[in-house]
């Protein structure tokens, strides 16, 4: 391995090393504050470690890893979310007894898995990254072990996620059987050359892989786990599942399907379109009269991934690849900070009750009058999810529309409109609940320091990039265009 290659994977090496150091520290001097500080430092250092690699990109490190602008952009997103989740998790766990330290170690491990995912160029690293992320998450979900809900959520996630992993594995095996290669880029050359059999194999392999990925992205009809896990998991973990896990998997999916050229197959596009429409409709319909905020956010994320699929499908249309990458990247960026903001607020509201998280909508009644700033932030995130201007979510949805319009995906766009319309209803329901005049519930909420600042920063970003998105657009165009 050359020196340059080592520099390129310096962030991963550094993070792994810091994880080990953290483990040692936990082993010898268990202190939550120290652990969290190490976590934050590790995340920041990892982020900084991408700097030296910047001049080298794109660079392949063994067949398994490739570091390019695309990977760096998503790594940045992941690290940002991980940091925010760490801060939220600190507030969440600090008053819940001892032995909370391992959580942060698992968080770093999961982050490592995500980082590996976004820069993998090979099925082996894909599967390992996926599993590293997944296995860490199983424990994170069940970490507090208060009540049965976390355990149930973790078990459901473990089993179904395992099933979905086998889908991916089996699909990979089929593709390997026909192509003899496990690298993404090599697939592109096979697909066009061979006869009908290989097309069938590739299609079947893609279908199986995509089936597995649909589970992780919680696309319909693989979405059923989502609300249960979102509700059962501790709020910061839910935030992690919603952002880092989904984001990283989407990033690698986009890379896999675009660089292998699989997405250009028309039957695959048909399948993707059906899935997208189903997700948008199912997600929004399921959320419609839901009373649990965490479940609403779960369903809303199903719908959002449906919207994202519109941009994804664009990649398979003629001349749509660059725009697909750009728009999905912006949409994901918007989705990341919005979701983090939402779960940040949920986390803060959940601090009041150690027995269970603030799921039911009644927790939020009167929030506007007792904690106006927090309520305002939540309102902002909800509006952003609904795609209303002034927020980053609007630009994200604008990108989706742009992508769809450019490639004339009218049916999908109609579904986006229908979905958004239904979506408004349940977002507004939450906002309306917050404006209720009541003395119950929200008055006892204390806003913690770390999480408070994290949510405030996220809200500020949400407004800033909603009103002035140009910097992010430039960044995306500079970095992400590498794979298109």
């Amino acid at each position: 391995m050359s020196e340059q290659q080592l520099v390129a994977i310096l962030p991963h090496i550094l993070l792994s090393a810091l994880i080990l150091i953290q483990m040692m520290v936990i082993a010898f001097a268990r202190n939550l504050m120290t652990t969290v500080v190490i976590s934050v430092i590790a995340l920041i250092l990892t982020g900084l470690a991408f700097m030296p690699a910047h001049s080298l990109i794109p660079i392949a490190v063994t067949p398994l890893i490739v570091l390019d602008g695309y990977a760096i952009f998503y790594s940045g997103l992941i690290l940002m979310s991980a940091t925010a989740v760490t801060l939220m998790a600190y507030d969440y766990f600090k008053d819940r007894g001892e032995r909370q330290d391992e959580f942060f170690m698992l968080l770093l491990l999961a982050t490592l898995g995500a980082l590996i995912l976004v820069c993998s160029s090979h099925f082996a690293s894909l599967i390992l990254g996926l599993e590293l992320l997944g296995v860490s998450l199983y424990t994170m979900i069940s970490y507090p072990q208060k009540g049965l809900l976390t355990l149930e959520a973790a078990l459901k996630y473990l089993i179904l996620s395992g099933v979905s992993s086998t889908f991916i594995l089996f699909g990979t095996a089929l593709i390997y059987a026909i192509s003899g290669s496990l690298g993404f880029a090599e697939l592109a050359t096979i697909g066009s050359a061979e006869n009908g059999t290989s097309e069938l194999f590739l299609a079947a392999g893609s279908a199986l892989i995509f089936g597995g990925i649909m589970f992780k992205l919680s696309l319909a009809p693989f979405h059923m786990w989502t609300p249960d896990v979102y509700e059962g998991a501790p709020a910061p973990v839910t935030a992690f599942v919603a952002t880092v896990s989904k984001g990283a998997i989407f990033a690698i999916t986009l890379r896999l399907f675009t660089s292998s050229g699989l997405i250009e197959t028309s039957s695959i596009l048909t399948g993707l379109s059906i899935v997208a429409i189903l997700s948008m409709l199912a997600g929004n319909l399921l959320a419609l009269r839901q009373d649990n905020v965490k479940r609403i956010l779960a369903y809303s994320s199903i719908a959002h991934l449906g919207y994202l699929m519109v941009a994804f499908i664009t990649a398979g249309m003629i001349g749509g690849k660059a725009l697909a990458v750009e728009s999905s990247s912006y949409f994901l960026f918007a989705y990341f900070i919005t979701t983090l903001g939402a779960f940040g607020v949920v986390t803060i509201v959940s601090l009041r009750d150690h027995e269970k998280d603030a799921g039911d909508i009644s927790y939020y009644e009167g929030l506007f009058w007792h904690r106006p700033l927090l309520a305002m932030m939540f309102t902002l995130t909800l509006l952003s999810l609904a795609g209303i201007p002034l927020t980053v979510g609007f630009i994200g949805k604008f990108y989706i529309f742009t992508a769809g319009v450019t490639t004339t995906l009218w049916l999908l766009l109609l579904a986006v409109i229908a979905g958004s319309g239904i979506g408004l209803f349940y977002y507004l329901r939450i906002i309306f609940a917050m404006t209720k005049r009541t003395d119950a519930g929200a008055s006892e909420i204390e806003i913690p320091l770390a999480g408070g600042w994290a949510v405030a920063a996220i809200s500020a970003a949400m407004l800033l990039f909603g009103i002035y998105p140009a910097p992010i657009i430039n960044l995306i165009n500079n970095l992400v265009s590498s794979i298109a």
Binding site: L155, K156, L174, A177, G232
Partner: protein
């Protein structure tokens, strides 16, 4: 010893049916241990598929993927059984339906 000339589609068909059986197990059983075991059946089917594919190309990649699957299986089982123990302690049951409360 040289491998016998198994037609690849037959090997993959075996993997497929094992895979299907495992999936059926996950769908039917309520006992968490058996569900986890069915999961292992599926993983094993995938491993078989890789071995078959690797054998077709005569490369080591198939076996390496098998080993990776092995580690994945081990990791999943470790955590899964840990959860199982925890659940059994709380509920005194390892019936999945008895611990299902999240819904809607």
């Amino acid at each position: 010893m040289d491998p016998i000339a198994v037609p690849i589609e037959q090997g993959l068909a075996l993997a497929s049916i094992l895979f299907a059986i495992g999936l059926t197990g996950v769908m039917v059983r309520r006992n968490i241990i058996v569900i986890l075991m069915s999961l292992e059946v599926m993983l094993n089917a995938c491993a078989l598929a890789f071995i078959v594919a690797g054998a077709k190309w005569g490369e080591a990649d198939g076996q390496i993927m098998f080993m990776l699957i092995l580690s994945v299986a081990a990791a999943e089982v470790a955590v899964g059984l840990g959860l199982l123990l925890q659940i059994n302690r709380r509920v005194g049951s390892i019936d999945i339906d008895e611990i299902s409360r999240l819904r809607g």
